[in-house]
Structures are given as structure tokens and as C-alpha cells.
């Protein structure tokens, strides 16, 4: 199934470029010691951009909840219905979230709370996106 392909912009391009190198990065303000994702022009804590850079994450997290989509607004996904929509919390900062379809996990059998690790899948010839796999069911 062809998926919608992320179109990087000036702010998000470093993130998507890192995905192509199989690295998961988030923005980090070294004044505030604050991580943020998705990326923004300024640090949400201090409002400055001068100390806002990128930091590599552990690539580990846990499933904090999910939905199962049966009737998506995104037409490219219709043929995959129903499918899992899980939300991942990053291990080192659980308030940072990522999405996952948890490939291989049966629909509606999402092991909430389980540990996951990131890997990367292609959505086009020149773009990878993060995905997550369960490493320790709890």
C-alpha cells in the first residue's frame, strides 16, 4: 500500500534526514534542558531558538495507549482497515510521543505498557520513517 509521504519543511528536515540514517532525534534546548517533538521554530519553554538543537534519543519507549482505525479520513489507508494506531512514549521522556502501526501485532491486541524499540521503514525511494517493535511484553 502506498502511504502518504512526509514532506519535510525547513524545521523538520533534520529529523527526516536523520531517519534516513536510521537515527531518531528530537529537538533539545540546552538552556532549558527541554526536549521537544514535533520540532518547532523556538523552544516552548524559553521561547528562544538560539539554544535549540537536536539530540539523539535512546530509540526505546513503551506503548501508552492505542486506537484501532476502521474508517480513516486518509484515503490511502482505506485498504488497510482496520489497523492499529498506537502511541509510543519515549523512555527518557514519556511525554514525548511517536506514532506506530505496530506491524505484526494483530489488530486490537496491542500490549499496552510493553517496551518497544524503534526501527525504520521506507515510505518512498528516498524517505524512511520511524516504526516500533515490541521487545518485552508486559
Amino acid at each position: 500500500m502506498p502511504r502518504p509521504i512526509p514532506i519535510p519543511d525547513a524545521i523538520s528536515k533534520p529529523f527526516w534526514d536523520a531517519c534516513n540514517e536510521k537515527r531518531l532525534i528530537v529537538q533539545y534546548c540546552d538552556i532549558c534542558d527541554y526536549k521537544q517533538f514535533p520540532p518547532e521554530a523556538d523552544c516552548r519553554e524559553c521561547g528562544w531558538h538560539l539554544h535549540l538543537g537536536w539530540i539523539e534519543t535512546s530509540g526505546r519507549g513503551f506503548i501508552n495507549g492505542y486506537s484501532v482505525t476502521y474508517d480513516s479520513r486518509i484515503m490511502a489507508w482505506h485498504e488497510e482497515q482496520p489497523f492499529n494506531n498506537a502511541v509510543i512514549s519515549l523512555e527518557e521522556d514519556p511525554k514525548i510521543n511517536f506514532f506506530s502501526n505496530l506491524p505484526g501485532v494483530p489488530v486490537n491486541e496491542v500490549p499496552v505498557g510493553s517496551k518497544v524499540e524503534v526501527y525504520f521503514i521506507p515510505v518512498s525511494d528516498d524517505q524512511m520513517i520511524p516504526e516500533w517493535r515490541v521487545v518485552d511484553e508486559s
Binding site: 502518504p4 512526509p6 516552548r44 495507549g65 492505542y66 479520513r73 494506531n85 506506530s100
Partner: protein
């Protein structure tokens, strides 16, 4: 023509509203027919036509004439963040003759368009910066309280056009969609938050049934309800439980049905209200709130924190306590919103996680806890206006078959989203 005023009451600590009880709601009007959608052709059924019909009805309801109106406040598209129906679907078409020479009057309706189309020559204050219904009414209340308008016509369009709602065929995911579309994340948000809620409090989707069924029953008693006009049969618990999933834990019957309708209200000073046709409903307060999630997604924790904040502001602004509220109308555009607002406001002592037990008890229209006596969106369609009209009519004692059996002297209504909400407090007396 000053349109930009600092009107939102969204900074803590919110104090008692400076115009508490000095502003009143005195008229309401609705377009007679609530349609499923506009066909894009019939000029007597455009959103503009619906709003004009409603505005005339509201003016007449208050015992006024168009020449009495000295202000018009509108929400162009009826949605949060100033989104309009036209901008959502982006219809490409040749326009009609003036006044329909843009989308204004077709799929959104500005205050300027209403003034021009209705020939409201004395309307010197015009403001189209309202958003969803609660914010719009809050803006109008502040405008009147601040003396910018004495007789303010408030118009609210909410429409639907041909085609499926928000369907997106694109394989490109720019902007905000770059984070969501590659994973098929759409309505999943409300299903996800509800899944967290159900897990945290040990409940499940089916326990929503008594609430949604009751809302449908209430809505059938409102003449402008889409269901009263087009599907007047009963809606049963079995119907609800057989609803197809949209985004688990949301079924089709947890999602409001988009319709095409207009509504209008007259807001005036308490002094001027004394001479009008209807019993005034005094506005004790308006408060607003808007938030951003910490990361990609709004969580249940966010939802509870944000609705708690909105409830705290509302009580601080109106001076009411939970036990003071007779009529309570928390929004239900997705049916799950109601439980978050209900638990935050603590109406009838409902605490976090208690909503489904409360639904299982007695929320009947003639019982002690007539939640959403107007039927909400689930019982009337996606107009939202029953959330103003029903509390207003309950306090005026003219809700007809919907009139609640309990005392109806105060009301609180809140919507639209936990992430972007406004609350209004009403009373039969000014203080």
C-alpha cells in the same frame, strides 16, 4: 468598526466578570429546516440563507425590528481556529450573482455579509472574529458589556456540503500532516483518549449507551433537531451497541452528524432587556481556554488537566459552585467529550471516572439529573446551537415538552473541545 478587542477571559486567576448580570440573552432564532447538506445549487438553502432566516427569527423573538440592531457578531465558519466549511472542502466552482460572489454567504457567513444582506443600517459594530459557538457568545457578551453594542445580533452558521467529511486523497503529507498521515492517524485521537480513560477507570464503550440514547430521546423533542425532522423514530440501546466502529473506542453513534443550519441570538444590556418581549436570561460570565499538547498527541492526562482548568475558570468567573448549577450542558460533538467536561465541573458531585456510573443511574429528562436536556449534537445533529437555546429556554420556562422537572434558575454550558473551550453561565436573576 473595531473588530479586534481583548475579550477572552483566559488568564488565571480569573476573577468575577466585570459585567456579571449586566448583559442578557433575549432572543433566539433558527432556520426552520435542518438539512443534511447543501446541494451547492439551491440558493434558498445556502448557509447564508439559513443564517438570515435565523436572524430574522431571533429579532422577532426579542420583539425587535432590524433597525434596533446596532451590532453584528458572527463566526464566519462556525469552527475553532477560524476554519470555515468552504476552506475544509475547498469547493471549486463558478460563483453566482452578488451577494453570492465569493464563499461568503455560501459556505461561511461573515457579520459584514449579514449586515449588508439584511440591510442592518444601524449596525455600526461588526465583528466576524467569533469561533465556535461558546467563544462566539462570549465575544458578544463582552462586546455588549463593554458598551460597543447595545443590541447585538449574534449569528452562527454550521453547514455541510456534498461529499464525505474531511476525506483526503493526497499521498503528500505536508505541514502538521507529515507527523500523522504516514501512520493513518486521524480520528484515532478521540478513540485513543477514550481507550486510556476506559483502562484507567475500568469502564468500556458500551457503558456510554444510556447517555447517547437519552440524548437522542431529548433531541426528538426539539423541533429544529435533524432527527426530529428526518428520523423521528426512537434510537435504542441496541442501535447504539450495533454501531460500526470508526476509531475504536468510537463508533458511528459517538460522532455527530454534520447538518446544514443557521442560528442567531440577541444579546443586550440588562437594562434594555427589561423592555423586551422575552424574559431575560442574564449572563453571569464567559471564560475561555486553549492549550497545546506537550508532544504529538493529546493524552487523557492533558484532557483532564485542561478541562479542570476550564472548570476552575468558569466557577471563578461566575461565582457559582457545582451545587448551584441547575441546568448543565457539556458539549458532545464526540460523545466522549461530555464525560471529560462533566467530571471536571463536578455537576451533581460527579468525580473523575464516575461519568459512566452517573449515566447508568437516572439522567432522564424529567428526573433529578437531566444532563443535556436539549439532546446535544447526538440528538439534534451537528448544529451545536441547542447548547445555547436549550439552557436559555429552560431558564425562561419555555422549553415545552423538554422542560425539566427540576428547578431551572441557573445554567452552565461548555464546549467545543477540551483543547479549545469556552464556558458560559446563565441565570434568571442578574445577581
Amino acid at each position: 468598526m473595531a473588530s479586534q478587542i481583548h475579550w477572552e477571559r483566559n488568564e488565571d486567576p480569573v476573577g468575577i466578570w466585570e459585567h456579571r448580570g449586566k448583559v442578557a440573552l433575549v432572543g433566539r432564532g433558527h432556520s426552520a429546516q435542518t438539512d443534511r447538506r447543501w446541494d451547492g445549487v439551491s440558493m434558498d438553502k445556502t448557509l447564508g440563507a439559513k443564517v438570515v432566516e435565523a436572524a430574522r427569527a431571533a429579532i422577532e423573538d426579542a420583539g425587535l425590528t432590524p433597525d434596533d440592531v446596532d451590532g453584528v457578531v458572527s463566526s464566519g465558519g462556525g469552527q475553532a481556529w477560524h476554519i470555515s466549511l468552504g476552506s475544509q472542502w475547498g469547493p471549486l466552482r463558478d460563483f453566482f450573482d452578488p451577494p453570492y460572489d465569493s464563499e461568503d454567504g455560501l459556505t461561511y457567513v461573515t457579520a459584514e455579509w449579514v449586515r449588508r444582506q439584511m440591510g442592518l443600517q444601524n449596525a455600526t459594530y461588526v465583528n466576524s472574529h467569533g469561533e465556535t459557538l461558546w467563544n462566539l457568545m462570549g465575544l458578544a457578551a463582552q462586546v455588549v458589556g463593554d458598551g460597543l453594542s447595545e443590541v447585538c445580533l449574534v449569528t452562527y452558521p454550521n453547514g455541510n456540503i456534498e461529499g464525505r467529511y474531511h476525506q483526503n486523497p493526497s499521498l503528500d503529507a505536508p505541514g502538521r500532516n507529515q507527523w500523522t498521515y504516514p501512520y493513518g492517524w486521524g480520528l484515532s485521537l478521540q478513540g485513543y483518549i477514550f481507550e486510556q480513560y476506559a483502562r484507567k477507570y475500568g469502564t468500556n464503550h458500551d457503558r456510554m449507551a444510556p447517555f447517547v440514547v437519552q440524548e437522542h430521546a431529548n433531541g426528538l423533542l426539539w423541533p429544529y433537531s435533524y432527527y426530529a425532522q428526518h428520523e423521528p423514530g426512537p434510537f435504542t440501546e441496541e442501535d447504539y451497541l450495533n454501531g460500526r466502529w470508526i476509531a475504536q473506542n468510537l463508533s458511528i453513534f459517538d460522532c455527530d452528524r454534520p447538518v446544514q443550519a443557521g442560528a442567531a441570538y440577541i444579546v443586550t444590556t440588562a437594562e434594555r432587556a427589561k423592555d423586551m418581549k422575552q424574559k431575560p436570561v442574564y449572563i453571569l460570565d464567559h471564560t475561555e481556554s486553549a492549550f497545546n499538547p506537550r508532544s504529538l498527541v493529546q493524552t487523557l492526562d492533558d484532557t483532564e488537566e485542561w478541562t479542570d482548568t476550564q472548570a476552575r475558570r468558569s466557577y471563578a468567573g461566575s461565582g457559582l459552585r457545582p451545587e448551584d448549577i441547575d441546568v448543565f450542558a457539556p458539549y458532545d460533538g464526540f460523545a466522549v467529550f461530555t464525560q471529560y467536561f462533566l467530571e471536571a465541573f463536578g455537576w451533581r458531585g460527579v468525580k473523575r471516572g464516575d461519568a459512566h456510573d452517573f449515566y447508568a443511574d437516572d439522567i432522564s429528562l424529567k428526573g433529578p439529573n437531566p444532563l443535556n436536556s436539549g439532546g446535544g449534537n447526538m440528538g439534534t445533529g451537528r448544529m451545536r446551537t441547542v447548547f445555547i437555546t436549550d439552557p436559555m429556554e429552560q431558564l425562561q420556562g419555555r422549553a415545552g415538552e423538554r422542560q425539566v422537572a427540576i428547578k431551572a434558575e441557573t445554567a452552565v454550558t461548555i464546549g467545543v473541545l477540551p483543547i479549545n473551550a469556552g464556558a458560559l453561565a446563565f441565570s434568571t436573576v442578574p445577581d
